[in-house]
């Protein structure tokens, strides 16, 4: 029995590759497996190669895997593009004139089996040419001995509205696939062991972020469509109206943040979501949120830059823009979830921090994390409690007894009690200009100094529950790998592999709070170690950030990849090994 399987379907865009992949993933999830996925696609609507990769494991797993056990080819490009990833003994399913089972050998040396068959014809014979992908899924299920009932259940859900006939023909197609497996490629690969089913969610980073936001009380999102952030807007546009909130698709990204700032000023928990180009457009208004001390959450789902760049590819290159973007100096907090699970909590905490510190909070994501689904243990709805900070009631405002309420009152912690517009005893002024406590324009030097200190010091101690993940890997390590976002799973696996190979003992820091950077807590963990960042960008922006805070220049490097694809474990492992050998 096998404890994991790596599966991929590839084909042309617009031909159901996505839905086929998702269906197989969900089947594995229902069977109790932990599933990680990765979709590759192009910036066009129809045509062009796309694929959907799955890794299913018994235990929680954060990486969709380097290899492939079953490769389902719906176009001619799939095999050549992915041959180098085939695992020993893999099965390749492909369309062909007639049924053929052949042995193949990849350029990497591994041998595999190709199972060629006339999928379309078989489906047509079954009375539903559209069901050809179902046959292929049946074959896949057959190979690892997944119970067809699960697939059939989904078929009923999906085709429910299309009537019995469609449902039946699809079910038949699945069965046919299983039969074909038994007949032509029996026992080709080991069956999956049975695991107990737990309460898992199968969810993407965008969805987890949107879900966390909604649960934290966010009732307003204004945004402009952009890959890979659009799903945040799409999911919330379905869900928010049910709870009295709404999503606004507005005319551009500047309006996106401005509407949200307006809504937040009025008291609603509000957010905007975007990707790189949109973030750049938002930086002026971001400064307004910082200066006027209006809470706001900005989700930035990173994609390949710069400029229009690689709109449908993965990258982590907006770090510096998230931390430094906007002219002048504002209070801000920059978070970046390590996993999809964390994305839920981080989103929820973001709204708390925005209210508590009355400042913008940027929630970083990356395409790898945003658009790909993964199973995670269901979220703990008790972990993050809603905290609206120094929001005050009209009653409380009344006690101040001011004709014009001092919105920017100087306080010990730099945070001013915040009334809302509409409160009878708290008429107040909010402003993007430098202002005095009343919110009125002030060019006075002393006031300026006080206000700058107030704003910029107030966030210094901001800290989320888990500002970084740390894995000391069971003891002394001479090297520490530092990452952020969707590289979490790959780094974990890399370390495990290196450890198993006896190459090196490495620890792992995965930073979730980029600004303010929890350097005091990080320092002891990197002291005396060789620091190696693993990041998807060219300049090593995370390394630069660390170096800014700690004098590790002579003992630190970055492992980078910037070709639009996520890391594989083997790439990271190889580079770590090179670094070590070079040092020794």
């Amino acid at each position: 029995m096998r404890e994991s399987v790596e599966w991929m379907v590839g084909g042309q865009q617009g031909e159901g590759v996505d839905s086929t992949g998702e269906l197989f993933a969900k089947t594995l999830v229902r069977y109790g497996y932990s599933v990680s996925t990765y979709k590759q696609f192009m910036s066009r609507i129809k045509g062009g190669h796309t694929n959907y990769k799955i890794k299913a494991t018994e235990k929680q797993n954060y990486y969709s895997g380097d290899g492939i056990d079953i490769l389902l080819c719906l176009d001619k490009e799939t095999l050549p593009k992915n041959e180098q990833s085939l695992n020993q003994g893999a099965v390749v399913i492909q369309e062909g004139k007639e049924i053929l089972v052949e042995a193949g050998q990849a350029s990497t040396g591994v041998s595999y089996t190709t199972f060629t068959l006339p999928l379309k014809k078989i489906a047509t014979d079954l009375g539903n040419p559209l069901a050809k992908n179902m046959i292929a899924l049946g074959i896949s299920a057959g190979l690892v001995e997944l119970p067809v009932e699960i697939l059939n259940g989904f078929i009923e859900e999906i085709f429910g509205k299309k009537g019995e006939e469609v449902i039946n023909s699809n079910k038949q197609a699945v069965l046919k696939g299983v039969e074909l497996t038994k007949e032509h490629v029996p026992n080709q690969i080991k069956p999956l062991s049975v695991v107990p089913v737990s309460n898992q969610l199968f969810i993407s980073g965008n969805e987890a972020t949107a879900f966390g936001s909604l649960m934290a009380g966010c009732r307003y999102l204004s945004a402009y469509p952009i890959t890979p952030a659009s799903e945040v807007m799409e999911w919330l546009s379905d869900e928010l109206p049910k709870v009295g909130g709404t999503v606004m698709q507005v005319e551009d990204e500047i309006a996106g943040i401005c509407f949200a700032i307006g809504a937040s000023y009025s008291g609603t928990r509000a957010m905007t979501s975007t990707s790189g180009p949109g973030l750049s457009l938002k930086t002026e208004a971001l400064g307004m949120a910082g200066m006027s001390e209006v809470p706001i959450v900005i989700v930035n789902s990173q994609r390949g830059g710069p400029s229009t760049g690689l709109p449908t590819k993965h990258e982590q290159s907006d770090l510096q823009q998230m931390i430094y973007g906007t002219h002048g100096e504002i209070p801000r907090i920059v978070l970046y979830a390590a996993t999809i699970e964390d994305a839920f909590y981080i989103a929820a905490e973001a709204f708390n921090l925005a209210d508590q510190y009355q400042c913008p909070v940027i929630v970083g994501l990356d395409l790898g994390l945003s658009m790909n689904k993964m199973t995670v243990p269901t979220f703990d709805s008790k972990r993050v409690k809603i905290d609206r900070g120094k929001l005050i009631t009209d009653e409380e405002a009344k006690d101040f007894n001011e004709t014009h309420f001092k919105r920017y009152r100087l306080t010990e912690d730099g945070i001013s009690p915040r009334p809302l517009p509409g409160m009878p005893h708290a008429v107040h002024t909010t402003s993007s200009n430098e202002h005095d406590e009343s919110g009125y324009i002030s060019e006075d030097q002393t006031n300026r100094i006080n206000m700058m200190r107030k704003r910029l010091e107030k966030v210094r101690d901001a800290m989320i529950q888990e500002p970084f993940k740390y894995d000391d890997n069971g003891g002394e390590s001479e090297i520490v790998l530092v990452g952020m976002g969707s590289t979490y799973g790959m780094i974990q696996e890399t370390i495990k592999q290196l450890n198993e190979e006896g190459v090196i003992n490495a620890s792992h820091i995965h930073i979730q709070q980029l600004y303010p950077l929890p350097i005091d807590k990080l320092q002891p963990l990197i002291d005396g170690k060789r620091v190696v960042t693993v990041e998807n960008n060219y300049n090593g922006q995370l390394l630069q950030l660390l170096r800014q805070h700690a004098p590790i220049h002579n003992n630190s490097e970055a492992i980078t990849q910037y070709d639009g694809d996520p890391f594989t474990v083997s790439t990271i492992a190889k580079q770590v090994k090179e670094l070590i050998s070079w040092q020794r």
Binding site: L214, G262, S264, S266, K382, P421, G422, P424, I441
Partner: protein, 281 residues
């Protein structure tokens, strides 16, 4: 009931004689005469001499950034539909950098008023042409005269669906107050363009210039396109409410039971969580 004094905020720093004074007074008067209290309003302003109005009228105020008062204001209204929301700013702010937002607001019809202080010039940056400056207008950067033609804001909002379109003149406070009152009471996006002479930098579009040229429209046109035709015919030199249409505002059309302000400290809503969680199982 609020008095004019209650509506007085910070001391204005405008040049003596600036048209913006009258508009500020007009807003204050309208609020008082309609019987509202300062806290019921939020004035969202842009940047420019005009933008300071949100600090000078004592209601809730948000002095935003250049060209973005209209999107912020729409967000404010959506966040708290109980507020009366006025966006206000200059012609540069609204028809230059902010033009796109203005047109989209016109077609969206969120319930708010947009009061533009149109002095045909960039005041605060010391007298460059604005998108409302006349063709041939001379400034220090257009010494040979402005080679562009002005934006036609009233026709533009009319053509793009605004449900209340009016124009006023800072030199006629009575009419202006009446128009502002009607704009405030209109349910939907109301666009009020107000000619507001800049006495320091604009020596062409003076009080006299407008007094001599403006035609009063006594009664709104029944038909949007008639209003449009009239405005075009008179080169925009009209005052009065040009068009008003009763139509559900954007938020009304959404048909959502808005409940955006009830988020309070405490645990997440467990029932809601379990309901939502299902779709990912």
């Amino acid at each position: 009931m609020a008095t004019l004094k209650d509506l007085r905020g910070d001391t204005p720093s405008w040049c003596p004689g600036c048209g913006h004074f009258s508009i500020m007074a007009g807003i204050q008067k309208a609020v008082v005469q309609l019987g509202y209290e300062p806290h019921e309003f939020a004035i969202i302003s842009g940047i420019g001499c005009s933008g300071k109005v949100s600090e000078y009228v004592r209601t809730n105020g948000f002095h935003t950034i250049h060209g973005r008062s209209v999107p912020v204001a729409q967000g404010v209204k959506m966040g708290n539909p109980d507020l009366k929301v006025i966006a206000s700013g200059g012609d540069g702010d609204g028809y230059g950098i902010g033009l796109g937002h203005f047109v989209h607001a016109s077609r969206r019809n969120i319930d708010m008023s947009y009061i533009v202080m149109d002095n045909n010039i960039y005041g605060l940056t010391k007298g460059q042409t604005s998108p409302r400056s006349e063709h041939g207008f001379v400034t220090k950067t257009t010494k040979e005269g402005n080679k562009e033609y002005p934006v036609d804001p009233v026709s533009t909002s009319l053509a793009n669906g605004a449900t209340f379109v009016a124009q006023a003149f800072a030199g006629d406070i009575k009419q202006m107050v009446d128009i502002i009152e009607r704009a405030i009471e209109h349910k939907g996006f109301s666009h009020v363009n107000i000619y507001s002479p800049c006495v320091t930098f604009n020596k062409v579009n003076t009080y006299d210039f407008y007094k001599e040229r403006l035609t009063k429209i006594e009664k709104p046109f029944e038909d949007r396109d008639e209003a449009l035709a009239k405005v075009r015919e008179l080169s925009g030199l009209v005052t009065g409410v040009l068009y008003e249409e009763k139509r559900p505002d954007f938020q009304g059309k959404l048909g959502i039971e808005f409940d955006t302000q009830s988020c309070t400290n405490g645990e997440m809503d467990e029932d809601l969580f379990h309901k939502m969680e299902k779709q990912f199982q």
